[in-house]
């Protein structure tokens, strides 16, 4: 089995897996970074959202070899040092999570949005977040939290 070297959350990690293995399984089961979640495995739900070179990506659709060329991978564990990214703070202020399972993905997607455009309008927020499902129905609060994080930026 080949060894892949991944730059995750500012450290370099080596994994020994078949090529073609999804980055999601590598992160979760091989590297123990379980904040990134599996829910659909086919790019439909956003639970596995991470940043690759700052852009939001679905880890479940990325084969490990495509991100082993020195790209910077950030997971929820690496979003901020103390869990105090403006988006995370807004999440607490608005009491967004219910079951919480989708929330790593939501937060990573929202953080990427605000990185790209710190002052998004309503339509832009709704469209940008449209690929992230939340079965508990926390969307109203997600929306409000993104708006208020945007005000902090």
């Amino acid at each position: 089995m080949p060894v892949f070297s991944l730059k995750v959350n500012s450290s370099t990690r080596e994994v020994n897996v078949d090529s073609g293995t999804s980055l999601l399984w590598v992160l979760r089961e091989h590297l123990g970074l379980t904040g990134t979640k599996y829910s659909c495995g086919v790019g439909q739900c956003g639970s596995c959202t991470i940043h690759v070179e700052g852009s939001p990506m679905r880890a479940c659709t990325l084969a490990v070899e495509t991100v082993a060329k020195g790209q910077k991978i950030t997971t929820i564990e690496g979003l901020s040092e103390k869990g105090d990214h403006p988006v995370q703070k807004a999440w607490a202020a608005h009491q967004v999570p219910q079951c919480g399972y989708c929330q790593s993905g939501q937060i990573m997607q929202a953080a990427a949005l605000l990185e790209k455009n710190p002052k998004p309008g309503r339509e832009e927020i709704l469209q940008y977040m449209n690929g992230n499902l939340c079965r508990c129905g926390t969307y109203m609060r997600i929306y409000k939290a993104i708006e208020s994080a945007s005000k902090e930026l």
């Binding site: 829910s39 659909c40 564990e77 869990g83 079951c99 449209n130 499902l133 079965r135």
Partner: protein
């Protein structure tokens, strides 16, 4: 030496209380090895001490730190916060010093007494019963703990106990101006032999609540759910763990025979294949390997089962004319519907239908099981709504003693009724038993959807008669479908004064796996009831709000939710072109709820847009009002999802959908512009909030559509294609 003396000293002060409510409260001192912090009698062995200590509901340390056990599954409903708040309120604890821990799984101590007067205490989180089930007993536990603190201080200061009062985490003697923090009381603790039950009058009055009804107290699990550290069972890793997946039939109940066993067994990375009645388990040394091997299975399925003959849309269409049922039950009979119909000035009939819906909890089912090598014990990690039943279920499956099963309750990535069955936990145990290693067993989303347990589809024939003034005097509701009681809830109309009512249930067996789904029968049934009332009102030229005002005239609590929602929505005020409002009422798990939707519809595509939604709810005392609102919001959005887009169909026993590309959940772009919730003030015991709002959504949207177009939507979900067909008809 020093350590030893500390321990001895503490052991002489160790305390363990059995209170009248059956609660046990350990009050311990700080700085001890945790195993030795509390126990009953001298001379017990350490094993017992560990167990006993863990049996306490609340633990107060000398530094003032208070630990409160939460006995509930946390699936997003917030009980992990709400239950400790109830206890902390009566204890008068400083909430900032409270830390919450998951209680051990011991129903005798931690079970909810809220399942009926003669029921045994159980640990099961269903039907929005958690807060209301534990409310009384947790208040009692808090009050009794506070009493012990007061009693101890009264003795130490030699003052009458009724001269003492409390402030958050502080005993106060006003007459002398003395105060003692709870932590300091630990050192002078004096536990009375018995503590009688604290009466309701001696407890806090609602106006004195500091924690309950407090909007500013947040959930205890928000931080860990915002930084990725919250542990769902999916996230658990144990040493030597391997991975299991199961290929189940496309037809529910089909049984497999494996054609390529030899080839499979030759595969690298395979640990074992495990034959089950309804599937083949694959255990491999990595998850990716297990999933890959699962795809390579060549299975011959015996589909000689009931489900194979079932095609959902045909079956649903046939129910309207079906005369033979497997069973018919009368659910309710009030007055004489037949006679009332005969003398009615006008009679009405309308049929309603709903397709299957799927739970779609975001965390697919999974569990970790570690069966010991000698196969006499097991340890389990899982998220479940029924933690009290895991040990028994696993023990049964493995043929071992329940005491030999250690269960670790994890966060649930959604429950919605699906996780009160333990099929997935037993599967993990069986796989682990076969390979003699810890196994993380995962259902893929496709497994979870196709071999799910759905909210049943149903057909509902509604009939009614009105008198000369247009009042409904007879109301008949006939339900047809599979799922027994899953179809029955929400049909009683206790808050509508209609003198003659009947409800009947016709059961037809289809062989499809069915289950409770958030609010159970209330979703489809309230849709039919509320929709039908508006169809009648429209024909009579009556305003839907007025009709309900009349029907609820003798039910002030229900009426209050109606009036409040109407006020919030500014009912009757002019609307923009192409908009209309619809109203619906429902009661679920004790909570009364009115909802109003404002919608528009795209006439070209048939897509309904919900612009605003208002809801007023009376759920008694709101232990955690902000979370109660969150539950209401979530219930409405999940309701919208099921009403507007979720559709699971079956052809010849095979589920046609497989993942979120063809099973459509509500997404962010379709949320309303505003969603307002009003929690009506109340001093009455809390009711269930987790499902209160889901049942009103279908009626509110259908009724808005009727107001907008003059046409009735009678088949859930209201997908654009269906809506378009109704518009064009």
């Amino acid at each position: 030496m020093k350590d030893q003396s500390t321990i001895d000293n503490s052991l002489s002060r160790r305390r363990f209380l059995k209170l009248s409510g059956g609660f046990t409260i350990g009050i311990t001192v700080v700085g001890l090895v945790p195993q030795l912090t509390s126990c009953t009698e001298d001379g017990e062995d350490t094993r017992d001490l560990v167990a006993k200590e863990l049996n306490a509901w609340v633990n107060i340390r000398e530094d003032g730190q208070i630990t409160i056990m939460s006995p509930a599954s946390e699936m997003g409903q917030g009980s992990r916060t709400a239950l400790p708040i109830i206890l902390a309120e009566e204890l008068d604890a400083d909430w900032s010093k409270v830390q919450v821990e998951t209680s051990p799984i011991d129903p005798e101590i931690y079970g909810s007494p809220g399942f009926g007067p003669n029921a045994r205490k159980i640990m099961l989180n269903v039907g929005s019963r958690t807060v209301r089930g534990y409310f009384k007993s947790l208040r009692q536990a808090g009050a009794q703990t506070r009493y012990v603190l007061l009693h101890s201080v009264a003795k130490a200061w030699e003052v009458p106990i009724d001269e003492l009062s409390t402030e958050p985490s502080m005993v106060v003697h006003e007459a002398s101006g003395r105060k003692m923090p709870y932590g300091d009381v630990v050192a002078i603790l004096d536990i009375p032999e018995t503590i009688s039950e604290i009466s309701e009058e001696q407890m806090k009055k609602p106006e004195d609540f500091r924690l309950i009804w407090n909007e500013s107290i947040g959930r205890v699990d928000v931080v860990e759910k915002s930084n990725g550290s919250a542990q769902f069972s999916m996230d658990i890793q144990v040493p030597d763990m391997v991975y299991g997946v199961i290929e189940r039939g496309k037809v529910h109940g089909a049984s497999p025979s494996l054609r390529n066993e030899a080839a499979m067994r030759a595969e690298d990375g395979l640990i074992d294949l495990v034959a089950l009645d309804y599937g083949i388990g694959v255990v491999a040394n990595s998850l990716e390997k297990a999933l890959k091997l699962k795809e390579q299975l060549d299975i011959d399925w015996n589909t000689n089962v009931t489900a194979a003959k079932h095609s959902s849309q045909e079956a649903l269409d046939s129910y309207a004319t079906l005369t033979q049922h497997d069973e018919t039950r009368e659910l309710r009979s009030l007055g004489n519907v037949r006679q009332a119909m005969a003398r009615a000035a006008k009679t009405y009939t309308a049929d309603y239908k709903n397709d299957y819906v799927y739970h779609a909890q975001m965390e697919p089912l999974n569990a970790i099981a570690a069966v010991s090598e000698d196969q006499t014990s097991a340890e389990i990690w899982a998220g479940t709504q029924g933690p009290g039943f895991v040990a028994g279920a696993v023990a049964d499956a493995l043929g071992i003693e329940p005491e030999k099963v250690k269960f670790n309750l994890c966060f649930l990535g959604g429950g919605f009724g699906r996780r009160s069955m333990h099929d997935y936990i037993i599967e993990a145990a069986l796989l682990s038993k076969a390979v003699k290693k810890p196994v993380k067993m995962i259902w893929t989303r496709e497994d979870d959807l196709r071999y799910g347990m759905y909210r049943p589809m149903s057909f509902q024939r509604m009939q009614a008669g009105t008198d000369a003034d247009g009042n409904i005097i007879a109301f008949s509701h006939s339900i047809t479908g599979d799922g027994s009681n899953l179809l029955a809830s929400g049909t009683a109309n206790e808050f509508y004064d209609i003198p003659n009512q009947e409800v009947e249930l016709n059961i037809v067996k289809n062989g499809i796996r069915l289950k409770h789904w958030r609010s159970v029968g209330h979703g489809p049934n309230k849709f039919a009831i509320e929709g039908f009332i508006d169809q009648i009102a429209a024909d009579q030229g009556q305003d839907p709000l007025e009709v309900r005002r009349k029907l609820m005239a003798n039910h002030p609590k229900a009426l209050r939710t109606l009036e409040k929602a109407a006020e919030m929505a500014n009912w009757g005020s002019p609307l923009a072109e192409g908009r209309a409002r619809g109203i619906a009422f429902g009661e679920r798990s004790g909570a009364l709820c009115t909802g109003i939707a404002e919608i528009s519809v795209n006439k070209d595509t048939g897509k309904i847009k919900v612009h605003h939604f208002w809801s007023a709810v009376d759920g008694g005392i709101m232990v955690q009002p902000d979370n109660a609102k969150a539950q209401m919001e979530g219930g409405i959005l999940m309701g919208m999802s099921s009403v507007l887009s979720e559709q699971l169909t079956i052809e010849s026993g095979e589920v046609r959908q497989s993942n979120f590309h063809d099973y459509n959940l509500l997404r962010m772009a379709d949320i309303p512009e505003t969603l307002e919730i009003a929690l009506l003030p109340s001093d009455e015991a809390p009711q269930g909030m987790g499902e209160a709002s889901t049942p009103i959504v279908a009626g509110a949207i259908a009724n808005a559509f009727l107001a907008l177009t003059g046409k009735a939507l009678t088949h859930l979900p209201f997908t654009p294609e269906r809506v378009k067909a109704v518009l064009d008809a």
